[in-house]
Structure formats: C-alpha cells, structure tokens
C-alpha cells in the first residue's frame, strides 16, 4: 500500500471510529436509562475515539516515513562486501546512489558489478518490507485505538474533559511550529557555517576583500583559488539597498503623509489599493522589469550622457555596466515604496487627533502641523518601518539575481556591476553541488550573516514600533 492510500484508509478508519464511539456511548447510556445519564455528549465520545484511533497511528507513520530511508540505507551499506565497506564515506554514498539508480531504473543493470545488482535487489526487497511493515503496524495501531476507545467508553467517562485537553494540546503543538521553524533555520545555517569556518577562518570571511568561491578540485588546477572574503558582497548589498532606500523612503513617506493628511476619502480609496497592487507584484516580475527594461535604459542613457560635449570637455568617460547596481536598486526602491508607505500610514494615523487640533488651533498651517507635530510624534514608528524596509531590501533576492551581476567588485560606484549576498547564495546553491565543499558551505555562512543582520534589524524595529504603539494606546 502506498503512503497516500494508507493515509486515505486511516481517514476512513477515523470516520468509522467517530460513529462507532458515538453509537457506543448512546447504547451504553440507554442501558442506564437514556442519554441524560452520559457525563459528556455523544459527540465527545466519538471525538475521543477518533483521537485514540488517529494520533498514535499518525505519529508512527510520520516518524517511520522520516527514518525508514536512513535505516534502509544503513542496511544496504552493511551488506556490501567487506572491500567496499572500507571505502571513504563519499565513495560509499556514491555506491548507494548507483544502487538507488538501478532500483529506480535510471541506470542499466548490464555491466554493473554483481554485488551492486545484489544490493539493488536487497534494497528493493527492504523497501517492500518497510512499506509492508508500515501498513500493517499503522493499521493495527489504528484498530487497537478504536478497540480501546470501544472498551473504555462508559456513561461516566469524562470524555469532554479529555477531548478538550487533547484539543488544547494540539493547538499548542501547532503554535510551536513557529518556534521549530526558527530553531530549524538557526540550526541549519549554524551547523553548515561551522563546517565552513573549519575550512576558512572566520576572520578571513568577514574581513577578506576578495571573493572568488571557485575551489580547485585537483591540486594542479589552474584558477579557482577559492577566496572567501565576503566584504565585496556586503558592500554590494549595502550599495543596492542604499539606492533602494534613497528612492523609497522619501517617496513612501510623502505618499503616506499625503494619503493620511491631505487626500479626500475617495482619493484614498482609489490610491491605496493601487499601491497595494504595487506591493503584491512578485519580485521575479520586478527582476524581469529591471533586467530587460530599466538596466538597458540606464546603460543607453549613460552612454548618451557620456557622449555629450560636456563630458568630452572635462575629459571624463562615463561607463555604465549593463548590470548596474543603479538599475537593481531603483527597481527595488519602487518595490519597497508601498511597504514604507503603508507602515508609515498606520503610524501617522495612530498619532492622536488632539495633537493636530492643538497645533492647528495655534495657527500653524497644515504642513507645519505635520512637520513640527505629527512627524516628530510618529518618528519612532517611522524609523521602525524604515528599518523593516531596509531588512527587506537586504534580503531581497530575485531582483538582484536577475538584474545585478555576479562579479564581486569592491566599489561604491552605482554605475558599475556589483553582486550581493543573496545573489551569491543562489548561484552557489542552484545546480549540482556537494554538501561538504567549501563552495557550497560558504552559501550557508552567507545565509547566517544575512539571517543575523535581518534578525537584528527586525527585533530592533519591532520593539521600537511596539513601544511607540503602546505610547498612544
């Protein structure tokens, strides 16, 4: 039985369990003189039976599915001939892959070493056994649960209390998934980064000025020096984010001020959804726009300006890369405008009307009220929003992957091509990879840096915004 059919059968069993538990409670109660003798409603008895039937069974299935491949692989390795067992870990993984391919039918069985074919047969039979065992054990667990519920259901059973406790703990487990996700992120990036820092010292990574992650596979290989100094990436990320923020902060803030202070209700009702459309456009679309429309435009415009008489007179030349940081930053800025605008809008709206009324009553114009009263009052919240936007700009991936370059130039010139942390993570991890090479691991180290920086920005920004909200509540 495949796992999906098994799940369907378990669901069917759960439905049966519900109705059997329910009717059992009713028949039991009738022996004592009607359903009013029940401690809990029949519904709760039915639900209790479902929980008894499903929870242990599902726990078993999930843990089995997670661990069975691992155990089977070890079994396969253990039955390999002695000569192969003494190979290095990498070579054994390779053998296991060959065996897997034979089973899946990707490789020809002809011409393979006989022990590999034997292993393939063994693997196939072990997989069949495992699936069989899973089906049998899971179904018997479910049926056992049903039987236990059947036996335990009596009119005195405090089924409601049990069901409510289980319900509450299920909800608790669900809300802990957020914690598990964070833990998963931290563990995955830290674990791989530690492996990386064993090969490349952490100081070289953070302070090194040269980034070229091609590692020589053979000792005599030319090129591929494998330099892991991440400073050019950090500078590139900051450059593009800074351009984006220069575009987005004034525009977003001014739009928010206009929308919340000046615009009529009708104008607001039209403009706000339009800005939300801008926020809802996927980043890959922005990336396409940046790479195919904005970047060529900037390159051509740069070429045109560079050809003008003034530049020739001054003896300057203007070279614009077709993957300029400016194009990526500009489009990223447009992407962030609605983000800043909606955050600032919330914050400005939270400023009490009495402050505005006071200032207006003293005779200040509306812009003076905004500049001298509303904005200072809203400043912490706006700063928080800007920081959140900055963290989003730093972590933005698709725009820079499509519009920024791959060359790790250490420069602050917005017209040249730079690369960013996220671009490098994507380039290093897309395609074929081996998990233990410094090249792959460096992506996780970059991920760790990205996570730390964005986390710090987020925590600080969120605490600022929270404090600000409490101030006016």
């Amino acid at each position: 039985m495949t796992t999906s059919i098994l799940l369907a059968v378990i669901i069917a069993l759960a439905v049966i369990a519900y109705f059997s538990g329910r009717s059992r409670s009713v028949t039991k109660a009738n022996e004592f003189g009607g359903t009013q003798q029940l401690n809990s409603l029949p519904f709760y008895h039915g639900m209790l039976a479902v929980f008894w039937c499903v929870i242990p069974c599902l726990l078993f299935v999930v843990s089995w599915v997670i661990f069975d491949e691992y155990i089977i692989e070890n079994l396969v390795i253990s039955q390999l001939p002695e000569a192969q067992k003494n190979l290095s870990a990498g070579e054994i993984t390779l053998l296991v892959n060959v065996v897997n391919n034979i089973v899946a039918g990707y490789s020809e069985t002809l011409g393979q070493a006989p022990y590999l074919i034997e292993s393939a047969h063994y693997l196939k039979s072990q997989r069949a056994n495992s699936q069989m065992a899973l089906t049998v054990i899971a179904l018997s667990l479910a049926v056992c649960g049903m039987c236990i519920a059947w036996v335990k259901i009596t009119p005195e059973l405090r089924a409601r209390n049990h069901v409510e406790t289980i319900f509450k703990s299920l909800l608790l487990v669900c809300s802990c998934i957020a914690i598990l996700t964070t833990v998963g992120i931290v563990v995955s990036v830290i674990f791989e980064s530690v492996q990386f820092f064993k090969q490349v010292p952490i100081s070289e990574f953070i302070f090194g000025l040269h980034w070229s992650p091609q590692v020589a596979i053979r000792a005599d290989q030319v090129g591929g020096s494998g330099a892991f100094g991440a400073v050019p990436l950090f500078v590139g990320t900051l450059l593009i984010s800074a351009i984006a923020m220069i575009i987005a902060v004034p525009t977003g803030l001014m739009s928010a001020i206009y929308l919340s202070e000046y615009a009529s209700k009708r104008a607001r009702g039209i403009i706000k959804p339009l800005l939300e459309v801008l926020a809802g456009i996927p980043t890959v679309v922005y990336g396409f726009f940046a790479a195919l429309t904005i970047a060529p435009f900037i390159r051509d415009a740069g070429g045109w300006v560079g050809d003008t008489y003034m530049f020739e007179l001054m003896g300057l030349s203007l070279q614009v890369s077709s993957e300029s940081a400016l194009a990526a930053g500009l489009v990223m800025g447009v992407m962030i405008i609605p983000f800043i605008s909606s955050l600032s809008d919330d914050v400005i709206n939270a400023v009490p009307q009495s402050l505005r009324d006071g200032a207006l009553g003293l005779g200040s114009t509306q812009s003076e009220t905004i500049k001298k009263v509303v904005l200072p009052a809203a400043l912490p919240g706006i700063v928080g929003g800007v920081l959140l936007a900055a963290s989003r700009a730093i972590g933005e991936t698709m725009i820079v992957v499509m519009a920024a370059g791959l060359a790790a130039n250490l420069t602050a010139n917005p017209l040249s091509s730079v690369t960013t942390v996220t671009v490098q993570i994507v380039t290093l991890l897309v395609g074929d990879q081996e998990f233990d090479s410094a090249k792959t691991l460096s992506a996780f180290a970059l991920g760790l840096m990205l996570f730390i920086v964005t986390l710090a920005l987020n925590i600080y920004a969120l605490s600022v915004v929270k404090k600000y909200r409490e101030q006016y509540e």
Binding site: C174, L450, F451, I459
Partner: protein
C-alpha cells in the same frame, strides 16, 4: 499746536508699530511664504504618489506591450500529402506505425511543392527551417486522432519556427523589414512569397497553454509550470491554513501570559520578516539534507512555502479572532458552553471571513515566491506535466525566471505573457480577498 501733537503722536505710534509690529502683522508678513511652503509640501506628496503610480503604469504597459503578442502564433498553411509511401506506413491500422511515421518527410515535400526551384542541400535545409521542429509531432497527433486522413492531401496550418514568428510580429506593416534575427535573405524572400500567397497566418497560441517547457520557443508553454504551482499551492494551503488557524486560536484564546507565549509571539513576528531565501536554506539543509526528501517536488516546495506564509496567516487570523467581541464569548459561557464549544461554535464562524482573507493574501504571496523554490531545486527543465505531489516539477514564477535567461527574442514575449498570467492569478486572488473582507466581515 494740538494738531501737530496728534500728528506727532501718530508718528510715534507709527514708529512704534514699525519697530514693534503686532502679532497679526507679523503673521500677515510671512503668510504668503508659509502658504507657498504649504503648497510645495502638498505638491511633494502628490508627486510621490504620481511617481509610484507612474512606475505601476510603466511596469504594466511594459509587460503587456512585450507579452501581448505571445498569445498569437504564426502558422504556415501547407498542403500536405499524407501518402503512405512518403510516411513509410504500411498498415494504417497499426497505431505504432502511425506514431513512427516519417512526418518530417511529408512536411518537407509539401514545402518543396510550394518552392520547386529551391535546389541544393543548404537551401533546402534553410527552407525546412521555416517550420517548427515540433510540427511533425503535431501532425502525428492529428493522424492518431483521425487515421482516415492517410492517403489524402490535406491543407493544414503548420506551426512556424520562432524566427519566422518573431519576424512577422516585429514588422508593423508590409514595407518594414522587421527583426530578421537568424533569418537569411533567401528565407525572407520565401516568406514574402508565402505572405503573398496568403499562406502565413496568426492564430491564437494554444500551444502556450497546453505545452510544458521546451528549448524551442514556439513549442514552450506554461502548462507544466501552472500545474506545479497548483500542486505546491495545494500543499501550502492545507498545511498553513490548518496550522495557522490552530496557532492563532491557541495564542488568542488559550495562551497564558507567560514567557513561552511571549517567545512564540516574538518568533512569529520575526519569521514574518525573515528573507524568503532563508526558508529555502532551511528546506535544503533540514528537509533535503537531514530528512532525505527528494528535491524538486511540489510536496517539499509546499512545505517550505507554508512555513514562509504561516506568520502572515497567524497574524491576520489573530486580528480576526481579536475583533470578535467578548460579549459573544460570555453569552455562550452563560448558556453553559464549554471552552471548545465557545471557540468552535461561536468565535471561529465569526472570525472565519477575516481568517480567509489573510489566507488568500498569504497564498498570493506563496504563488509569487521564487527564491526558496530555487534553493530546493524546483528550477528543473520540466517538459512533462507533473501528475502528483511527488513528481519533479517547477512553478510559474520559476518558469518566468528560467525563460528570462533565455537568449531567443521569442522567449521575451513568452516570459512577459507568463508574467501576465501570473499577475492575472494574483490580482484575482487579491480582489477575492478584498471582496470577502467587504462582504463578510462584520463591524461590531
């Protein structure tokens, strides 16, 4: 004397006024400047909004301008002789023979009939390059449906090569040269002959919606990407909706005010702002590296995306639960309902519209997300339409990313068209969310 004194006094008064003007005068003096400032400030606001909206308009016109032509495709009308000798089919009732027939040859012969004076290997090859390499498969499919056509000469619309398609679309009228690309001068004269014979026509591009990815632009379609996206979204919806709502209920209705609850809250708020690519790293290291899941499958993509959208759904669901007034809970308790009954029978139905709105917005986010899918290998070149949650597949935004890298000009319009399809999905989802919010949400 008196009058002089009065004048004198008034003079004094004047001088007093000049030296120490009244508040009103002070205000009046700077008023014009202040109003100018006011107008300027307001103008800045209008300009910023105009800038943002201009970018929106620019983006849409750019994409639609590039992509609208992809919905039409050039076909060449050919009279194909479906002769059994040419097709090398002996038994027309044998499906296998029909499948393996030499359709390439039949198509080539029909082209030769049109241009009998084309001689030489090189010229013939160039002539044959006008029709798509996939045309023979189309012909085979057609015959599979209707084997009775064999032996007849039928007039068929044959898919043209992407170079022909691009050239035809790029010229605004008959006198313009257009974007010739790889087309040679000879090929252009043949094409002009075809146009004069009224044999070139543009039809709605169904291939784009029914095919998977392909290296040939005229054969590339978005069907496999859309199917992959739908499978992924299905998993995401299933996981993030159940888990999201459950955690929102726990945090709002059950959670005691202690450090564990605070910790969960801080976690959720931070996860909402973690860059999406980090979730890709999580998927790569934990689900592929540790649990040994297969890469490139919608199941894994769905799990990763659901972890990413979970915070959005939890936050909006909590807001929806919060907006249910306490009096409803108290009334239910007063009638003797248990806590679970209060939640399931009263709070949840009232909060559901808000929760659904949040979920749809989260799903729209997940549909447009690319970066985490790149990390877990959903960037494969997928021709076949995936049939289950565990078939290798790609997603629509990833398909856009892949096509955006392709050098052929015909892929640019297809990328834009795919973007238009994606945006249509997203705008529909968001409109649905707004409509739900307006329609079903109750103000207390």
């Amino acid at each position: 004397m008196n009058s002089i004194e009065v004048v004198d006094e008034s003079y004094k008064e004047n001088s007093y006024q000049i030296n120490n003007p009244t508040t009103l005068e002070l205000v009046n003096k700077t008023l014009a400047k202040r109003y100018r400032k006011e107008r300027r400030f307001k103008l800045y606001g209008v300009l910023s909004i105009c800038f943002a909206l201009l970018c929106l308009v620019l983006l849409f016109t750019d994409i639609i301008g590039k992509g609208h032509s992809a919905f039409f495709q050039t076909y060449i009308k050919l009279d194909v002789q479906l002769d059994t000798a040419v097709l090398e089919i002996i038994d027309i009732n044998d499906a296998k023979q029909i499948k393996q027939g030499n359709y390439q040859k039949a198509l080539r012969e029909s082209l030769t009939l049109l241009f009998p004076d084309v001689k030489g290997r090189q010229d013939k090859r160039k002539l044959n390059a006008l029709i798509s390499t996939g045309a023979s498969y189309q012909l085979a499919d057609k015959l599979k449906e209707d084997p009775s056509l064999i032996g007849q000469t039928v007039s068929l619309d044959i898919l043209a090569d992407d170079d022909v398609d691009t050239w035809l679309k790029s010229r605004a009228n008959e006198n313009e040269s257009g974007f010739t690309g790889r087309l040679s001068a000879k090929q252009l004269t043949w094409l002009t002959t075809l146009i004069e014979a009224d044999r070139l026509e543009q039809k709605f591009n169904t291939v784009f919606f029914t095919n998977g990815d392909s290296r040939e632009p005229e054969l590339a379609g978005i069907r496999s990407a859309i199917t992959g996206s739908l499978f992924t979204l299905f998993v995401t919806l299933l996981l993030s909706f159940t888990v999201g709502i459950s955690s929102a209920i726990y945090l709002e209705e059950y959670a005691p005010k202690n450090w564990i609850t605070d910790f969960i809250e801080v976690n959720i708020n931070n996860l909402a702002a973690v860059p999406s690519i980090i979730f890709g790293l999580l998927g790569l290291a934990i689900f592929i590296g540790l649990f040994g899941m297969t890469r490139s499958i919608p199941l894994l993509g769905g799990i990763v995306l659901s972890l990413m959208t979970l915070p959005t759904i939890i936050i909006s669901s909590r807001a929806a639960i919060k907006s249910v007034p306490n009096s409803i809970r108290e009334a239910a308790y007063g009638m003797g309902a248990s806590k679970m009954q209060v939640i399931l029978h009263h709070v949840l139905p009232l909060a559901l519209p808000g929760m659904l709105t949040g979920t749809i917005i989260g799903m729209a986010q997940a549909l447009g997300e690319t970066a985490p899918l790149l990390m877990i290998g959903m960037v494969a070149f997928v021709v076949d339409v995936p049939g289950s949650l565990t078939d290798p597949s790609t997603a629509l935004p990833v398909q856009i990313f892949l096509w955006a890298d392709s050098p052929e000009r015909a892929f640019v319009e297809r990328t834009s068209a795919a973007i238009m399809v994606l945006l249509a999905f997203l705008i529909t989802m968001n409109t649905l969310a707004v409509w739900l919010r307006k329609r079903l949400e109750r103000r207390w």
